[in-house]
């Protein structure tokens, strides 16, 4: 509901409370502004009045019961920020749309976005007591501690929040407005009663009212209402002062007594509603003039608060709403259920099944509520509202859910989509006992409202089993259940069929059967196309292209992305989610071909579309692609940072993680000469050259081989042999699986190993094989990434042999990494001297350290400068770092 994010309307006629708005102004330099007082103390009015005089953008959230579910809470908070400062919060919002976002990261992202935003902001969380809950606490503490100074956080609440208030108070980081401050002082009471309410009262009478209400504005407001139009004000005031009844109770009764019977009845009957609109109230009260009644109540200041500027939605002031419900319950206890029932019916017809269900439950009509819930499931599922469905899991009694297979199945589906797998297996087991595998009528004792959903049940249940097996890492069971789902699903049940094809495809991918995986995934895409789920088609395209890239088929991958983009162009939605992802994919293909300009262009396109234009895995994939480009451009340190970033936002969306970020990072560490970091990664992953190979660990094992080669260069005995044996096995595995993309990388490393072992012709033959495969699809990057040593091998390939032309092309690419060794590689001794250039030592000291003459050091230094194209020591160090010849210890 949009109204949650609107600053409530201010009535013009309120007392200006300068002493309090000044306190709120001081909150700009505090960490937290806390407005904490019981109901009816005018917290919201104070805030809206204060904000009305300021020009700073305001992100406002009116919290309600149930908003303490973390996803919902952060969803509203981020949406409020986006409303107030367009563009700010888009990244956090994109993360929240994932199945199981990491909330720490969401908060960190939001804080970052706020910090880099140009604008100041006031962020108000109104009625925070409704959500203050251990589930939110840690992230809220984080938010409070890290919010940039230009954002003023204001919490208004009836109960002090579970935040480190004492500590903030001690440090002067907390600005507070509490009940004692909010109580109206005598002059404020006078101003309210005589000016705002235009009552003619003597100073004594004002004083009596002030003391009887203790400056509580809720009571003062009621007193003013009671006094309006009354002849005998002094008698009323005397009675009121002499009575010791609960002040609100006394006054509400007074006020209600003075209303006409229709108004009184309207107030009581509509008190069951959380929100009021003309049509809704008409349905509940039977009074067709309800809209006029609401406007009349607003004008008379009778308990209602407008929620939007168009006089469409109102709510009762919380405190009066409570009191009115108490009156209703006392006066007409038998009516309450019927009022809820009417509200439920109205909401159902208005297309708001969630509210309809809530009122049906309140009416005690659990069965009707279940009917409504069941019929709402397909829409909620399509709109990815699984959070709402998950809430219903706790609302309906177990016996009722058991008797309703379609509803029970909807719950399973929602739990799985929101990443909650606990107990899902048991629920499926239970369900399977009730649903016959074949099609047919629901058995005795079961209730089915959505007959079409019942027909789909057997197939869909098998699909869920398949998904569960995939999560549990059991590809065989995944495939078996997927096949069952397909055989059970009706011909026209495209969604179930597409889903089953997708899980079967993913399971085959996990097993390294790429061609089969591609075939099944293509089936899934066909099905999704047919039902118009464009974003899902784009999501599947990522998988299809990834498979092709693993097979080394860059051109097919490119076409997959381009086809998907063409499909998106015809999508009526203004921005189709997934378009950004397609550009990230295209940049990866371009990078593999070393077309850095095109890679940068596509990354820029995806950046402009933003995380919001991307699928859940976009934040992660785009950072990985940026890291690849940064490394190719020679900024390896930046690439490592980007990978760290990517790791924080990782989301695989069911796809097997075949290119783990830590493994990619270890390769970059090798390029930076940081062998320790790479070796400790390999240890932590418990990798060893003798491991049994599996496709899922192929990337890691290849990285291990690279680590071993580097260790050999550092003098570790046996490392070269271990690396070679491991690479030979990897080569066989990749060849058998048709994974030519991976095979290329393996061949290049094998060639390096052979070269290092002094087997020059063997190395040349290996690299020639790689060149032949690479030439067809235009792979270039794989050779450049192998570093300077490979250039020497490439140069031994005869231009006339097969692969020779591609070798010349690779060598011709002006890449700093490769261009250098073509001229001349640094000798061992020069490398030794180079390391000292990155210290504070002078020439003579370096000479002493290396036990050589100063002249020798000078000669080496001169050679180093020449080879690195540097004219002084600083340039040489910088060039060496960029080339990965030096670690970045001094930066």
């Amino acid at each position: 509901m949009e109204t949650k994010l609107l600053v409530p309307q201010t009535r013009g006629d309120v007392v200006a409370r300068k002493r309090l708005t000044e306190v709120l102004d001081r909150g700009r330099s505090a960490r937290l502004t806390l407005v904490s007082a019981p109901a009816g103390f005018g917290k919201t009015t104070l805030l809206t009045r204060w904000l009305a005089d300021r020009s700073t953008p305001v992100a406002w959230v009116s919290l309600e019961e149930g908003d303490s579910r973390p996803l919902r809470f952060w969803g509203y908070l981020v949406a409020a920020v986006q409303r107030a400062a367009p563009g700010v919060g888009d990244g956090a919002a994109a993360m929240l749309q994932r199945g199981r976002p990491d909330l720490d990261t969401v908060v960190a992202t939001l804080v970052n976005e706020l910090a880099t935003a140009a604008t100041e902001l006031v962020l108000v969380l109104d009625d925070y007591h409704l959500v203050d809950d251990p589930a939110l606490q840690a992230c809220m503490v984080d938010l409070v501690e890290h919010l940039p100074a230009k954002v003023q956080l204001v919490i208004s609440t009836r109960v002090d929040p579970a935040l480190p208030l004492a500590r903030m108070r001690a440090r002067g980081e907390l600005v507070e407005v509490r009940a004692a401050d909010l109580r109206f002082t005598l002059p404020e009471v006078a101003s309210y009663l005589t000016e705002v309410s235009a009552l003619e009262l003597s100073p004594d009478e004002v004083s009596v009212l002030e003391s009887r209400t203790e400056g509580w504005i809720a009571a003062l407001q009621l007193a003013a209402l009671s006094l309006r139009g009354r002849e005998e004000t002094s008698a009323f005031i005397a009675d009121f002062a002499g009575d010791d009844r609960y002040v609100v109770d006394y006054l509400v009764e007074e006020v209600l007594d003075r209303q006409s019977a229709p108004v009184r009845q309207f107030l009581l009957q509509t008190s069951v509603l959380d929100r009021l609109s003309g049509p809704l109230c008409a349905a509940v009260t039977g009074d067709p003039d309800s809209q006029r009644m609401l406007e009349q109540l607003e004008r008379a200041n009778l308990f209602v608060v407008p929620l939007d500027g168009r006089r469409r939605w109102y709510r009762y002031h919380h405190l009066f709403g409570e009191v009115l419900r108490t009156y209703l319950l006392d006066a007409h206890p038998g009516e309450v259920a019927e009022l809820h029932r009417r509200a439920s019916r109205w909401y159902d017809e208005a297309g708001d099944p969630v509210s309809a269900v809530r009122h049906a439950v309140a009416a005690g009509d659990v069965d009707r509520a279940a009917d409504l819930a069941e019929l709402a499931l397909p829409t909620l599922q399509r709109d990815r509202q699984e959070g709402t469905v998950v809430e219903w899991v706790g609302v309906f009694p177990d016996e009722l859910v058991h008797a309703r297979p379609v509803l029970a199945h909807g719950f399973v589906s929602a739990l799985m989509s929101s990443g909650q797998f606990d107990g899902v297996r048991e629920r499926l087991d239970e369900l399977e006992q009730r649903v016959p595998a074949g099609r047919g009528d629901p058995p005795q004792g079961t209730v089915v409202v959505d007959r079409a959903a019942w027909e789909r049940l057997p197939g869909s249940m098998a699909l869920h089993r398949s998904g569960l097996a995939l999560i549990e890492g059991d590809p065989d069971a995944t495939i078996a259940h997927a096949e069952q789902a397909m055989s059970r699903a009706a011909k026209d049940d495209h969604l179930t069929r597409a889903g089953a094809a997708a899980t079967a495809g993913l399971a085959r991918w996990t097993r390294g059967e790429l061609e089969d995986a591609h075939r099944f995934y293509s089936l899934a895409v066909d099905g999704l196309r047919r039902v118009g789920h464009v974003s899902d088609v784009l999501g599947c395209s990522i998988t299809l292209a990834d498979l092709r890239i693993t097979q080394g088929r860059l051109e097919d991958a490119r076409c997959t992305y381009e086809d998907a983009l063409r499909l998106a162009e015809h999508d009526p939605a203004p921005v189709t989610r997934g378009v950004a992802d397609m550009h990230v994919g295209l940049s990866e293909v371009a990078l593999a071909r070393n077309d850095l300009a095109a890679a940068a262009h596509h990354l820029e396109r995806s950046r402009v579309l933003g995380d919001a234009g991307g699928l859940p895995q976009h934040p992660y994939r785009s950072r990985v692609a940026q890291a690849g480009l940064a490394a190719a451009e020679g900024d390896v340190a930046r690439a490592v940072e980007l990978l760290d970033d990517a790791e924080r936002v990782y989301f695989g969306d069911f796809a097997p993680n075949v290119r783990p970020i830590p493994s990619m990072r270890a390769r970059l560490h090798l390029a930076l000469g940081n062998l320790d970091a790479a070796a400790s990664w390999a240890r932590a992953r418990r990798l060893s050259a003798g491991d049994q190979l599996s496709y899922l660990r192929e990337h890691e094992h290849l990285t291990l081989a690279m680590v071993l080669l580097a260790q050999h260069r550092a003098g570790r005995a046996g490392a070269l042999e271990d690396a070679t044996r491991l690479l030979e096995r990897l080569r066989l595995a990749a060849q058998e699986g048709g994974r030519h993309g991976n095979l290329l990388e393996v061949l290049v490393q094998l060639a390096l190993a052979a070269w290092t072992a002094g087997q020059r012709s063997g190395a040349a033959e290996l690299v020639r094989r790689a060149l032949v495969i690479a030439e067809r699809e235009g792979h270039v990057r794989v050779f450049l990434d192998a570093g300077p040593a490979l250039a020497a091998v490439l140069r031994t390939v005869s231009p006339n042999s097969s692969g020779g032309r591609h070798a010349a092309r690779v060598l011709g690419v002006a890449s700093p990494v490769l261009a250098l060794p073509l001229v001349d590689q640094l000798s061992e001794r020069e490398l030794d001297v180079l390391r000292y250039l990155d210290t504070d030592l002078g020439g003579p000291e370096i000479a002493r350290e290396l036990s050589v003459s100063v002249n020798t050091v000078r000669t080496h230094t001169r050679h180093i400068y020449a080879k690195l194209g540097a004219s002084n020591r600083r340039e040489a160090v910088r060039a060496a770092v960029r080339l990965g010849l030096l670690r970045t210890a001094r930066r």
């Binding site: 809720a218 609960y246 002040v247 109770d249 409570e322 006392d330």
Partner: protein, 89 residues
């Protein structure tokens, strides 16, 4: 405030500011309301557990009532006599 008869329940007494009309008894379902001469009200009755107690206190809060004290007065109904209490206060 539903209290299953079999549930082990404590007996609690909340004291709030102001006298409450009888209609509030429906509001605090299952509890007895006793007005005292000093202009305060006792809300008294069985409370099954801590969650229920906090729920009760929350209702007091949401009704805008000022809470003066909360007291456990034993788990046996017969031990308490609000009217006796009244004469003491």
């Amino acid at each position: 405030m539903n209290t299953a008869p079999a549930a082990p329940s404590g007996w609690y007494r909340l004291r709030v500011e102001g006298r409450l009309a009888a209609r509030w008894a429906t509001r605090f379902d299952g509890m007895t309301l006793v007005d005292l001469d000093d202009g305060t009200t006792l809300i008294e009755g069985p409370v099954v557990d801590q969650a229920a107690l906090h729920g009760l206190i929350r209702q007091v809060r949401d009704s805008g009532l000022s809470l003066i004290s909360v007291q456990e007065v034993g788990s046996d109904r017969s031990r308490t006599n609000p009217h006796h209490q009244r004469s003491q206060s």
